[in-house]
């Protein structure tokens, strides 16, 4: 699917990220080049401190590179200010975190509606979109449960529904199965693959579990702030 010479959706050119200053400076990323096409399912792997999370944060426009160029659909993200990056997240990106990060005491449906609130959509449109998204992740009938009333797997599904309710181009998942047992983990991965294939959402996932990485169409290994290997693979059939 990468055969067409289309412009990449995401392009890193010589991205570096340095934390701290002077003696205490720590270089988390030292010159990363990476280009990602629309529709890919990318697994980012690597040991702790390899810079994979930093790379994800920059990819997700949550953080900015120290030097280098980040093109998102041809736009120079490194030149955008805080609010412009927030708008970019709002319109093109969806996030799934290891710790779910749902709002407590808030129903699944309200959690899913949250991004739409910031987009100023009408209540009717919000409700419908939230119900659709929850149905897509297989949680029809759980709309009014709060996170405390849901299992970990279900909470992560709500989080995924929240991430895709805006129909983003890219879904960024940071260790989405890190807090789940193996059975739930596989269910979540299958859901991500389905979203990737059926909805055409580009999925970028950080994981340290090789088993989970087998679901991806491409695996990027980070070591010491650089890309050590970058292999396309036959995605595991669901």
């Amino acid at each position: 699917m990468n055969s067409a010479p289309a412009a990449p959706l995401i392009e890193f050119q010589g991205i570096t990220k340095t934390y701290g200053q002077g003696q205490a400076a720590f270089q988390a990323l030292s010159g990363v080049d990476l280009s990602i096409q629309q529709g890919e399912f990318l697994a980012v792997m690597g040991p702790s401190g390899s810079g994979k999370s930093t790379a994800m944060n920059i990819l997700g426009c949550l953080d900015t590179p120290s030097t280098g160029t980040y093109l998102f659909q041809g736009v120079h993200v490194e030149d955008l200010d805080r609010n412009q990056r927030a708008l970019l997240r709002r319109h093109y990106l969806g996030f799934v975190f290891q710790g779910f990060n749902l709002l407590a005491r808030t129903s699944a449906q309200e959690n899913v509606e949250l991004p739409l609130l910031y987009r100023g959509e009408s209540p009717a449109a919000r409700h419908q979109a939230a119900l659709d998204a929850l149905a897509l992740v297989g949680l029809s009938g759980w709309e009014h449960h709060t996170p405390a009333e849901l299992s970990g797997g279900q909470q992560q599904r709500v989080a995924i529904a929240r991430a895709i309710v805006t129909r983003p181009l890219v879904l960024l998942a940071d260790e989405p199965t890190g807090n789940l047992d193996s059975k739930r983990s596989h269910e979540i991965m299958e859901l991500l693959v389905r979203l990737n294939q059926e909805q055409g959402i580009t999925v970028l996932m950080v994981t340290h579990e090789p088993d989970m990485a087998t679901y991806a169409s491409r695996i990027v290994h980070f070591v010491d702030g650089q890309v050590a290997s970058d292999d396309a693979q036959e995605a595991r059939p669901c």
Binding site: A86, H91, N101, R105, P115
Partner: protein
């Protein structure tokens, strides 16, 4: 967008009822305390002024000691004698009546009933100066006063407590250790200052009181009523001059008695109550301050606790000012709600207490506004500041916050 923020804020308040309740509790109590204190103080001041002015503008009261009101110094000053009253009556013109009064708190007994009350020993002039009418019976006769007979005129409350609705005339009333015959019943005057019952009174001849209750010939108070249209300051000057002579005061000596008209008494008492009100107001202001610190705490804690939530909102694409606006509206809504509830609570309390203490209810918009503005300002400032700090964090920082 404002509607959106409002919606988000109200949702959050509803979702965290307990936290919201605790937040506004501080404001409610502080606002209610300050408003209640000041409102009641105003009512008390007004009531005393009304009570005193209802005594009439032509009444003078003379007591030993230098001044009336706080810090009265009565101990060293000689008391009056009956002769003082007679001298004033005969030597000062334009006077209607001069009543020498001695008072004593006693337990009254009649049949099986008993009642604690105040007995005033005085003359018939008292009924003129005190503006008393007789509902039944008679005043003291010359004979009663001259020999100090054991007779009494009672107020309506004393009648009610001891005799119910029976006619008390001719009945025996035990005052301390002697018995006296009830010869008259005073017409009811109703409630007096500070809920004091004006009808809770027993009047006996002066000589009777001196012999059987106080055991000396002192007179505690002279009540002097002037004729209508008399020149108050001229009359007061004459009385003062006369008393200085009678008490043999040298040119440079201060008066060792004080003579006041009702207006001065009202001023003295209002001054006392004003001081009390200021004191209570200060205490209440402290409680408002403590309430403010409570709001500050809860706002700080809850916003800090919600740093993660702010991180989530930022990550999914909320703009910094959208998050801030939401928190600001939450703070404003909570503080305003607390202020309004506080004001309502204060008004209810004031209405209840005013009715209970028979005081006029004096609504003071200034203090209501002040208390409300103060608490609202604290809520808004301390809701906004930590939210601003949190919203300016990087989303990843905020998300990492535990």
């Amino acid at each position: 967008m404002l509607m959106n923020a409002l919606l988000l804020a109200l949702r959050e308040i509803r979702r965290n009822l307990m936290r919201s309740f605790l937040t506004i509790l501080g404001i409610v109590i502080g606002v209610a305390a300050v408003i209640t204190m000041v409102t009641l103080g105003n009512g008390a001041t007004r009531m005393v002024a009304e009570q005193i002015s209802s005594l009439g503008s032509n009444l003078l009261i003379m007591r030993p000691g230098q001044r009336l009101g706080p810090g009265r110094d009565e101990a060293g000053a000689p008391k009056f004698r009956v002769a003082d009253a007679e001298a004033i009556k005969s030597q000062v013109s334009a006077l209607q009546a001069v009543a020498p009064v001695v008072g004593s708190s006693v337990t009254l007994v009649a049949g099986n009933e008993n009642w604690s009350s105040t007995v005033s020993g005085t003359t018939n002039a008292y009924f003129i100066t005190g503006n008393w009418k007789l509902a039944a019976g008679r005043q003291f006769s010359d004979e009663d006063e001259k020999v100090g007979r054991a007779v009494c005129v009672i107020g309506n409350t004393v009648r009610d407590k001891l005799f119910g609705h029976q006619n008390p005339l001719g009945a025996e009333l035990r005052i301390k250790n002697f018995s006296c015959e009830i010869i008259g019943l005073l017409a009811s005057k109703g409630q007096g200052a500070m809920g004091m019952d004006q009808d809770d009174v027993v009047v006996i001849p002066l000589l009777t009181a001196q012999r059987r209750l106080t055991g000396n010939q002192d007179v505690a108070t002279l009540m002097i009523s002037m004729q209508d249209g008399a020149d108050t300051s001229r009359v007061m000057a004459q009385i003062r001059q006369l008393m200085r002579e009678r008490r043999k005061l040298a040119e440079n000596d201060d008066d060792n008695f004080n003579l006041m008209d009702t207006k001065q008494i009202a001023q003295a008492l209002s001054g006392t109550i004003g001081t009390m009100t200021a004191l209570l107001g200060a205490v209440a202001a402290v409680s408002l301050l403590v309430g403010g610190i409570g709001i500050m705490n809860i706002m700080l804690v809850s916003v800090t606790e919600r740093t993660r939530e702010i991180g989530i909102r930022l990550a999914i694409g909320a703009l910094e000012h959208e998050v801030l606006l939401q928190f600001l509206i939450e703070a404003v809504a909570l503080s305003a709600l607390g202020g309004v509830v506080g004001i309502l609570l204060a008004l209810l309390t004031c209405l209840g207490l005013s009715a209970l203490m028979h005081m006029p209810f004096m609504f003071d918009p200034g203090i209501n506004l002040l208390a409300f503005a103060f608490s609202a300002a604290i809520g808004v400032v301390f809701g906004y500041m930590p939210a601003r700090r949190a919203a300016s964090l990087d989303p990843i920082e905020a998300l990492r916050h535990e």
